[in-house]
């Protein structure tokens, strides 16, 4: 088995909010998260708002560092690196952001923004850079003349393609795509997803795909991790996850997605209540406040991550009961 390109090991990240009279409050954004990403695969993090998926993406990118735990990139622990030591590695780890307008500097020409990683990480001369930028523009379906323009002259879908062009300019190994299509209209969404797929095949890219949209995730991913309140509740192969979700949260999440087909009538699991605040996460299993199968054990003890073989991991006390299988090991 090959070595994972990215490996996150028991990462924890809390943010301080509100240094009020009652002392500091902490947001538990990422809570003991571990997973591996294999070269060439698309690994997705799904979850609802505030579940810590974006924070996890930024941990891997070293935009923030974990409070404890490690992040390995190609076997090297990058969580302890300084910003300066990290800089050369940034050519290999690129990012695509949700907001195509906000992620581009409104005062800099498109071609200079696409060429920025080239300027930073290669010793190409300006002419060679421009030539490469024109190639990249064509690659994402824009023309060289677009390069002379400023971001406000483009539509959201076009800008997202510009963002992709910038991310692939220095032939990265892994791209972290944080909700890359959430801000786009459906017909444009498909354009961007298809482009990402195509580039992955041709450039042998690895993706960490972060999204709240389970339908989009199903289309693009190989393996999926479901997050809830800063913690991963289930990791599985795409097929396993959609065919037989084990964790009660995954089941509810999948059943909540409206299907664009009026002939399909599925049994919906309606969750009670809201997502608890990450400032005051529940004790025991984080999901117990909304879980229909909750018992005393769930309220008191944090469930262990159980491995059911084939990479299917579930963080639930009663995972054996729901899956009908016995766990191979407990992590």
């Amino acid at each position: 088995m090959s070595q994972p390109i990215v490996s996150v090991n028991h990462a924890v990240k809390t943010f301080v909010v509100n240094k009020g009279l009652g002392g500091k409050k902490y947001v538990h954004a990422v809570n003991d998260v571990s997973f591996d990403i294999m070269p060439g695969e698309t690994f997705s993090l799904v979850g609802e708002s505030g579940c810590g998926k974006s924070t996890t993406g930024r941990l891997i990118n070293h935009l923030i560092v974990p409070d404890s735990g490690e992040v390995y990139y190609n076997g090297q622990d990058i969580s302890k690196l300084s910003e300066k030591q990290m800089r050369p590695l940034r050519a290999e780890i690129q990012m695509i952001f949700q907001d195509p307008y906000g992620s581009l500097n409104p005062r800099i020409k498109i071609q200079d923004q696409i060429g920025e990683p080239l300027l930073l990480h290669t010793d190409m001369d300006p002419a060679a850079r421009l030539k490469r930028v024109h190639e990249l523009l064509r690659l994402v379906g824009l023309g060289p003349s677009h390069g002379e323009r400023y971001p406000h002259e483009f539509s959201g879908g076009q800008l997202q393609r510009v963002g992709i062009a910038r991310a692939i300019s220095v032939n990265p190994k892994i791209i972290i795509a944080d909700e890359p299509v959430s801000a786009l209209d459906v017909s444009i969404q498909a354009q961007v997803l298809n482009l990402m797929k195509k580039l992955q095949e041709q450039m042998n890219l690895t993706y960490l795909f972060i999204s709240h949209d389970l339908s989009v995730v199903e289309m693009i991913s190989d393996r999926i991790a479901v997050m809830y309140l800063g913690s991963i509740v289930e990791i599985a192969d795409k097929r396993d996850l959609y065919a037989m979700p084990v964790h009660p949260y995954t089941q509810a999440l999948l059943s909540a997605v409206p299907i664009p087909d009026p002939t399909v009538h599925k049994e919906r699991i309606l969750l009670e209540g809201d997502i608890p605040s990450p400032v005051n996460p529940p004790s025991g299993c984080l999901f117990h406040t909304r879980c229909a199968h909750c018992t005393e054990l769930c309220k008191q003890q944090v469930p262990p991550m159980k491995d059911f073989g084939g990479g299917h991991q579930v963080k639930c006390h009663y995972a054996e009961k729901f899956s009908g299988k016995s766990a191979e090991k407990t992590l």
Binding site: E48, S49, S155, G157, Q158, D185, V186, S187, I188, Q189, A190, Q191, L193, N194, K197, H212, L214, S215, V216, E218, M219, I220, R239, Y242, A252, L253, L254, S255, A256, V257, P258, I259, P260, D261, P262, T263, V264, R268, L270, L271, G273, D274, I275
Partner: protein
């Protein structure tokens, strides 16, 4: 046969962009809504679906927008001919609206109770305490577990799902005959979205309220509506029952739109997409507005704009296309 509640005919809404220039955001939109029906209005951003709803509500005072022509007949009365004052007595009482962003639709400086009481007393001659009781009842009706606690809260103390429930309670407090829901669940998480959609269905079956559901999410339409209108560039391009629309879409835009949405559990790994992007309102192509992105487009499509015509044999179904949906187009589609 259900009773007709709303009849929109030839609605055209324009926005002033300069001293003499204006753009047409909604062009010749015609549709109707029965009592107790949930009608979907689907389209991508900028297609004019929200402007259509604002036109019905007459919410264009002091803005650049104006209903240029057409009629909006609500229960026998043409809303475009009413005075501002008459309109005010209909808005909120007989037609109410829910917006996309519940957080910013509530006044952040007022307690929920004050806002609900105000909404109730605006249209009903009741005392403050009666209004408060009614507000409390409304909140439990929309599934808020602790109405008293919620009444005393400020909007920022509520979660997104809770604020949307409060908004719905506010929209319902005068028992309107019609509710316009403009992307009511777009800002919410899926599990919360499921709760709100369930609530809206429930309201409809309890009060026989008509709902005009405006959304870009085809999944929501398939789940909620009986009939749907597809809008593109300010025009309705297709009207059909939801079953027919998803089973056999006719207009190439609808076909492309439905195909480009990944369907959960379908196992697809690539999606057909519609090339290009939506035309700018100020630079609309001549002829069919979808022609530049349509793979079937022919000379006639680029020159003259097709009418929204009934589809032969399709029980109230309409389509705006030169090539498809008509008898002579049948072969072309096959």
């Amino acid at each position: 046969m259900a009773e007709r509640l709303l009849d929109v005919t030839g609605l055209t809404t324009t926005f002033r962009t300069g001293k003499k220039t204006s753009v047409t955001a909604v062009n010749n939109v015609t549709f109707s809504l029965d009592r107790g029906e949930i009608l979907g209005l689907v389209g991508e951003s900028g297609c004019g679906k929200s402007v259509t709803s604002l036109s019905i509500m007459g919410l264009f005072e002091d803005t650049a927008g104006k209903v240029a022509s057409g009629s909006i007949v609500f229960d026998g009365e043409d809303l475009t001919k009413l005075t501002t004052k008459q309109m005010r007595s209909i808005r909120g009482k007989r037609i109410s609206m829910i917006f996309q962003n519940p957080m910013s639709s509530l006044n952040s400086c007022m307690r929920v109770e004050a806002q609900l009481i105000e909404a109730i007393r605006l249209h009903n001659d009741v005392s403050k305490s009666e209004a408060r009781q009614r507000a409390s009842k409304m909140l439990s009706a929309v599934g808020i577990p602790d109405p008293e606690q919620t009444l005393r809260s400020y909007p920022h103390q509520l979660s997104g799902g809770m604020s949307q429930r409060v908004m719905i309670a506010m929209a319902l407090c005068c028992e309107p005959e019609m509710m316009i829901a403009d992307e009511p669940t777009t800002a919410l998480d899926v599990t919360i979205q499921a709760q709100i959609l369930e609530l809206m269905k429930d309201i409809r079956s309890r009060n026989n309220t008509s709902i005009l559901l405006i959304t870009h999410d085809l999944g929501v339409v398939a789940e909620m509506c009986s009939r749907a209108l597809v809008m593109y560039a300010g025009r309705i391009v297709e009207e059909a029952s939801v079953e027919e629309l998803f089973a056999s879409p006719i207009h190439p835009y609808t076909v492309g739109l439905i195909a480009s949405v990944p369907k959960l559990g379908s196992g697809v790994t690539s999606l057909p997409s519609i090339p290009g992007s939506v035309p700018d309102l100020s630079a609309m192509p001549q002829g069919c507005k979808f022609a530049p992105r349509c793979k079937y487009a022919q000379a006639v499509c680029r020159q003259t704009e097709p009418e929204l015509a009934p589809v032969p044999g399709g029980n109230g179904r309409k389509c705006r296309c030169h090539l498809f949906g008509k008898e002579e187009g049948k072969e072309a589609q096959a």
